[in-house]
Amino acid sequence: MLTRRDLGLAAGAAALLPLAKPALAQGARGTVVMAQQAQPPSLDAQVTTAQASRNINLHVYETLFARDEAGNPQPDLAEGVDVSPDGLTYRFSLRDARFHNGKRMTSADVRASLQRYGRVGGSAFIMQPVEAIETPNATTVVVRLKEPSPGFIAGISSPRAPCAIIPEEEAGKDASRIEVIGTGPFRFLEFRPDSHVRLTRFGDYVQNTRYQGMDGFAGRKVANIENIMIRFVPEAGARTAGLQTGEMQILEAIAVPAAQRLRNDRNLVMHEMMPWSFQTLMLNHVQPPMDNPVFRRALQAALDLEEIMAISTDGLYRMTHGWQHPGTTYFAGDVGRPLYNINNKDRARALLREANYRNEEIIMLGDSSFSNHQATIVTAAEQLRSVGINVRTVITDWPTAFSQRTQRTGWHMWALMLGIEPYEGPYGVVGFFSGHQPVQHARDPVIDDCQRRLTTSLAEADRKRAVSDFQARMYDQAIAIKCGDVGIVQATRAQVRDYKPYRIPRMWGISLA
């Protein structure tokens, strides 16, 4: 009888042949240079939710489960998981993997990593329901929960702040204090702040033989590139120029106008990603007159969301009302749609009168660090002004804006792009508006209830209903405003072969011509 592992090997070997042909013929070679705008705030994958870190960390670290191309969790460092019928016990069997320091990964490393995630993790709430983590043997990890948590696998497989598996001896260290050691197909070489990060192919990488090819962040990761250089180039124009001159081969994102201009350049390939994220306007419910739902509905009615989207995305957008992406499990259909993009100034003025609006100053908070945020605020402010709302825009740098928005005063509306959360599924999105410190600063009992049902219901149908109810409430009470879906364009030189756009530019599977 064939074990699962043997089967995987056989299948993998068969699949490898056509795919890995160039790799086998030439060996891993070449250096690929990718440019991104920001530099990583941390190379401790567990800690940060920043895209700049994710681009690097997901080449270095791996997780027990990872999201596939469609965003669904698949085993990565785990061979699989057995979940007890009561949903309280998760038994993970581990596959063969090696850390970059040469050590073989064992259940002790996994346990230490999960425990650390509960302390420092960017989405540490995932570990909240965990009661105990046991290691019956070197390749088995058993996680026992206090209460059912149907989102557990979704959580530990999310790339948001990945629940990376690191060596046990590193797991004792504090946030951002660890050595960069993972199990991924590339290992960390150097970090030159304000300049670049260099990664190199991990020679002893153990490929996941369960798969034939790459699949999202899971799948078989074949490194055909010897070296990766990830450069931090703050100027968009410089990144584009660098791509054109061949100094860089891959851009994490290229400005949309540039992408349009270069669409027909035979040396370049533009890869459109739609949807990439949500553009939202968060509302502060504790600052009068925002505590009045009627006033919030006036805002909802006044905005021309299409203009906001067209300007803030430079034309790459989709008008979608859902707080989940269409086509995903938790997409709630037409719920709330009539209240999306109303763009009716008369109705807005009527609602303002009904809300007894007395020309109170509305502070619209944006930041100059993310151009989408700034453009959204600037455009929306102009629209609200035109229906007679006394608007003041405050655009600061990111930390100031963020610190401000965590305060209960000093702001009314705040622009935020949510990328990874809707991709993750409903948990992060609903989580934003529920719990002790919801972004709108006033807890909403209905949303809190949706959150409870979502995180504890064992039946998927119940969870779907919770998300649907959440979406209905979001629109009905104008809790926050979803503007639309944002797309991005990743760009490569034509010499980069087999590139498939995804949430990060993936360097495994590709090769250089």
């Binding site: 530099q39 705030p41 941390s42 190379l43 800690v47 940060t48 939710t49 920043a50 895209q51 870190s53 302390r119 420092v120 960017g122 989405s123 540490a124 709430f125 948001r160 504090d174 946030a175 951002s176 970090f191 030159r192 702040p193 304000d194 300049s195 450069r231 931090f232 180039v233 703050p234 100027e235 124009g237 410089a238 120029a241 660098g242 054109q244 001159t245 100094e247 660090s369 993310f370 740098d397 990111w398 930390p399 100031t400 963020f402 610190s403 401000q404 965590t406 935020l416 792009m417 949510l418 990328g419 990874i420 959360e421 992060g428 989580g431 934003f432 719990g435 002790h436 410190q437 972004v439």
Partner: protein, 316 residues
């Protein structure tokens, strides 16, 4: 000479003490902290609070001030959590970039500026004078970062002659280093070139009237030696004093230019640190930049003394 240098150094100490206090103080009025940056843009308030505690950002300011000065006196500038390295190391790593940029720009500005100034002075009142001074004044008035953008567009994108940005260490590839420095240094240099040209012209006009210039000609010295040796050596004395101030201005200008040309220099480090609230780096970076400025001016003072024997011998 040595005593002169020591005296100047001693006089700089109180200035540096005030500089350190200002460096620390600025950070304390900046809202927000490093946890915001580290947590990432979509972190929730709860996630943030937890991270803040883990990073020790909740300690009272006087504790942090005492800690910072304590470490500073031991020569330790602290550590950046975001950069995964000590502040001193972070700065030392970028110093070559900023110094390359600043001093290449200073060299370009000085050489071109004095050349323009000499030309204008020798041809005073003629068309060449007006053209040279016009150039200087226009250079003086152009925003350097804007010029950088234009340079990138013209020389890197349209013509493809030079890279759009990035830094190549001199030790790795001198030609590459020169190529990487040319555009940013030129953009940075232009304004100070104008300053040098104006200073040089004024000083040269003054010097050319002097009797010793006539003496040099009476000795049968050819024109270029009279101008380039006898007159210029004297005219440079006031010009060199400006070099100290110019170095400071360039150091400031480097901040934006480094960003335009994606150069990993100290300026971008500090601006990045300000934007990301990396307190130890802001403090250390400001302190160090100011110290460099003080040192450069010290060097200029010494250079001044070297150029003018009258100062060297303490007669002034």
């Amino acid at each position: 000479m040595l005593r002169y240098a020591a005296g100047r150094l001693l006089a700089a100490l109180p200035v540096l003490a005030i500089v350190s206090l200002l460096s620390f103080g600025i950070v304390w009025i900046v809202p927000g902290d490093v946890a915001v940056e580290m947590a990432g843009p979509t972190a929730t308030a709860e996630e943030l609070a937890r991270l803040r505690e883990r990073l020790g950002l909740t300690r009272p300011w006087y504790e942090q001030l005492a800690g910072w000065y304590g470490a500073l006196l031991r020569g330790d500038l602290g550590e950046s959590i975001l950069l995964r390295q000590g502040v001193a190391q972070a700065i030392v790593e970028r110093l070559p970039v900023t110094l390359s940029l600043t001093f290449t720009a200073l060299a370009i500005a000085f050489v071109c500026g004095t050349a323009l100034g000499v030309l204008a002075a020798v041809r005073a009142g003629q068309a060449a004078d007006r053209v040279a001074m016009g150039t200087a004044l226009v250079g003086f008035s152009l925003p350097d970062f804007w010029l950088g953008l234009v340079f990138v567009y013209v020389f890197a994108v349209l013509l493809g002659w030079l890279p759009t940005g990035g830094y190549v260490p001199f030790s790795q590839d001198p030609a590459g280093w020169a190529r990487s420095m040319l555009l940013p240094a030129a953009a940075l240099a232009l304004s100070q070139m104008g300053l040098f040209a104006r200073m040089t012209r004024a000083a040269m006009l003054e010097v050319l009237r002097q009797d010793y210039v006539r003496t040099a000609r009476a000795k049968g010295m050819p024109g270029w030696i009279v101008i380039g040796k006898h007159a210029l050596r004297n005219a440079l004395i006031p010009v060199v004093t400006v070099a100290g101030i110019a170095a400071g201005v360039l150091l400031g200008g480097a901040v934006v230019i480094e960003s335009v040309f994606s150069l990993p220099g100290v300026g971008r480090l500090i601006v990045g640190a300000i934007q990301r609230r990396d307190y130890p780096v802001i403090q250390g970076g400001l302190l160090l930049t100011a110290t460099i400025f003080v040192l450069v001016n010290l060097i200029v003072d010494l250079l001044y003394a070297a150029l003018d024997p009258r100062i060297r011998h303490g007669r002034r």
